[in-house]
């Protein structure tokens, strides 16, 4: 009865507060759309200058890059003056590759291209490439899209839940509510259910949009995506409420974001986890997004099911339960019983 009163009140507040509702749904959608356009843009086109190269090699290179003959012998000058990514010079048996060099991924692509083109056609090995997960048409956005979907849901739910619980404290309604015979756990559960219902809708819209509109790779079942985002949102919401009791005002709540939310993205698989310094790598398994992102990748890229997911889901649920218990405990500050 009291729980449902809290739930109803939270949902009504959302309905009356259209701007917050829009923020929670539209903002992630806009950012995801922008990111998809940023990363799914044109293929990288290399521009390479050549000097005295055998026609055979140039022809091969032209399949993948814009190749131009450089007039001057000064390869460096043409790199600086014109917009070449690299200049290849064959000079009296001496073979030289000058790279523009400021972008590591372009460097790698050029070296790869030049190497492959220089190989004698007889030596060319035809390889049968097969993908265990993913495919050759997978874009980099497909790779980190699932992580970003998880991140934005986490981010917005954390912020809104934290701020609204904080407001409850600063506007005195928390005290007024605690002067009624509601139990502390009833209040926490009410908050979790109320926000949970709303985030369910929010996550569903964001996930639907990511998969069907911006065409994020989606191998597994949509139902699992919903389950994971809900669990992730639950942990964000309980963490947000918990941390709000350490903030005096909205500004301080926002300052938790660079401290608590943003670092999670470092450990969520957006960057290669194997190269993280040992001093930091232990942090990853302590953050909810680590599990949420892993589970989302399993479903969306690898198409896996519950057998692979249940550990991630269980850990996320564990986080939520822990934060909830801590919340009930933190409310003791306001009323002992």
């Amino acid at each position: 009865m009291r729980i449902s009163a809290v739930v109803k009140r939270i949902l009504k507040q959302f309905i009356h507060d259209k701007r917050t509702m829009a923020l929670m749904i539209v903002a992630p959608i806009i950012i995801l759309t922008m990111l998809s356009l940023v990363f799914n843009g044109e293929d990288l086109e290399l521009k390479i200058g050549v000097l005295d190269l055998p026609d055979q090699i140039v022809e091969k290179m032209e399949q993948h890059a814009v190749v131009k003959n450089v007039s001057s012998e000064d390869a460096i000058e043409s790199l600086l003056k014109e917009d070449y990514d690299a200049v290849v010079v064959f000079n009296n048996g001496e073979k030289k590759l000058y790279l523009e060099g400021s972008n590591p991924s372009i460097n790698r692509a050029v070296i790869e291209l030049v190497k492959n083109s220089a190989v004698n056609s007889e030596e060319k090995v035809t390889m049968n490439i097969s993908y265990l997960f993913g495919s050759d048409d997978m874009t980099s956005f497909d790779h980190f899209g699932p992580v970003l979907v998880g991140f934005f849901i986490f981010f917005f739910v954390f912020l809104i839940a934290g701020v609204s619980f904080l407001r409850e404290r600063t506007q005195g309604t928390l005290e007024r509510v605690l002067a009624s015979p509601i139990k502390r756990w009833e209040l926490v559960i009410g908050y979790v259910v109320g926000f949970g219902l709303f985030t369910m809708v929010q996550s569903a819209i964001i996930a639907l949009y990511s998969v069907y509109v911006i065409d994020l790779k989606m191998e597994g079942s949509f139902f699992y995506v919903l389950l994971i985002t809900l669990m992730l949102a639950l942990s964000a919401l309980t963490l947000g409420i918990l941390l709000s009791s350490f903030a005096k005002n909205e500004l301080q709540m926002i300052q938790f974001i660079p401290l608590v939310v943003v670092p999670q993205i470092f450990f969520s698989g957006l960057f290669n986890l194997d190269t993280i310094s040992n001093y930091l790598s232990w942090i990853g398994p302590l953050t909810p997004l680590y599990y949420g992102a892993d589970a989302l990748k399993s479903v969306m890229i690898k198409g896996q099911g519950l057998t692979e997911l249940w550990i991630d889901l269980l850990v996320l649920f564990g986080f939520s339960i822990t934060f909830m218990i801590l919340n009930i405990y933190a409310l003791k500050k306001h009323r002992r019983i």
Partner: protein, 242 residues
């Protein structure tokens, strides 16, 4: 009930500052008890101790024979805080509905209770208005309506009539007197002297001590004053409102 509904012997400190120093007070059923004292003297603190949202550092606060805080007793208390605690995004009706459910008013009775409480504070036409669009006095009246919703046995009102016009204030005090005659204990804090005059008994808090308790007439007699205001001043209180 043979016993007094409220009995306190309480000390409250924040850190090393003593706000209330061994306040002994007994309140009766069916009385309006007015709590007076200069600003910052600890009236709100005392009232919160009775509601169970603050806890005694030493001593005890017994309400309806239970040591506070106690959830079953809290059901029977109507509390109106000094600062309005309302949800601005919600309409008046939604606020009332929420607090009514929290205080345990059954769904069937809610509508009637809400209407009669709002009639009392003259807000029955504003039920569907959002609270953020209310004036200060309207918010005050809504807070009062919320405190009255569940027919509490004890009403604890922290400066209930601030910002309310004289004719409505008159009406509200008639309601208080009506409730008192039905056996409700009402505790009000106030800075308004003509309200103090209407209380059954008054208590004066100053410097953490309860320096005087008695009916308005007794207090006037003790200090040889014509009005409560004079009595208040001669006890050393500083009046900051008329």
């Amino acid at each position: 009930m043979k016993n007094f509904p409220v009995q306190t012997r309480v000390t409250k400190r924040y850190g090393h500052t003593t706000i209330l120093d061994n306040i002994k007070m007994t309140l009766n059923k069916g009385e309006i008890f007015g709590l007076l004292g200069p600003s910052g003297s600890g009236k709100t603190t005392f009232v919160k101790l009775l509601c169970g949202i603050e806890e005694a550092t030493e001593g005890e606060v017994i309400v309806l024979e239970k040591q506070m805080p106690d959830l079953n007793v809290m059901k029977r208390i109507g509390y109106m805080a000094q600062a309005d605690a309302l949800y601005g995004e919600l309409t008046a009706y939604e606020n009332l509905e929420f607090f009514a459910t929290l205080s345990g008013v059954s769904r069937r009775e809610q509508k009637a209770r809400i209407l009669s409480a709002m009639k009392l504070v003259d807000l029955e036409k504003e039920l569907q208005k959002r609270v953020e669009d209310f004036s200060g006095g309207m918010k005050r009246r809504l807070s009062l309506a919320i405190a009255l919703l569940h027919n509490p046995d004890i009403l604890i009102l922290d400066e209930p009539t601030v910002g309310i016009d004289p004719s409505l204030r008159q009406k509200i005090w008639e309601t208080f007197e009506d409730l008192r005659s039905k056996g409700v204990l009402i505790l009000v804090t106030t800075h308004v002297m003509d309200e103090a005059e209407r209380c059954s008994r008054l208590g004066m808090i100053k410097g953490g001590h309860l320096i005087a308790v008695g009916t308005p007439d007794e207090l006037k007699k003790q200090t040889d004053s014509q009005t409560i205001e004079q009595a208040f001043l001669s006890y050393g209180g500083q009046s900051n409102e008329n």
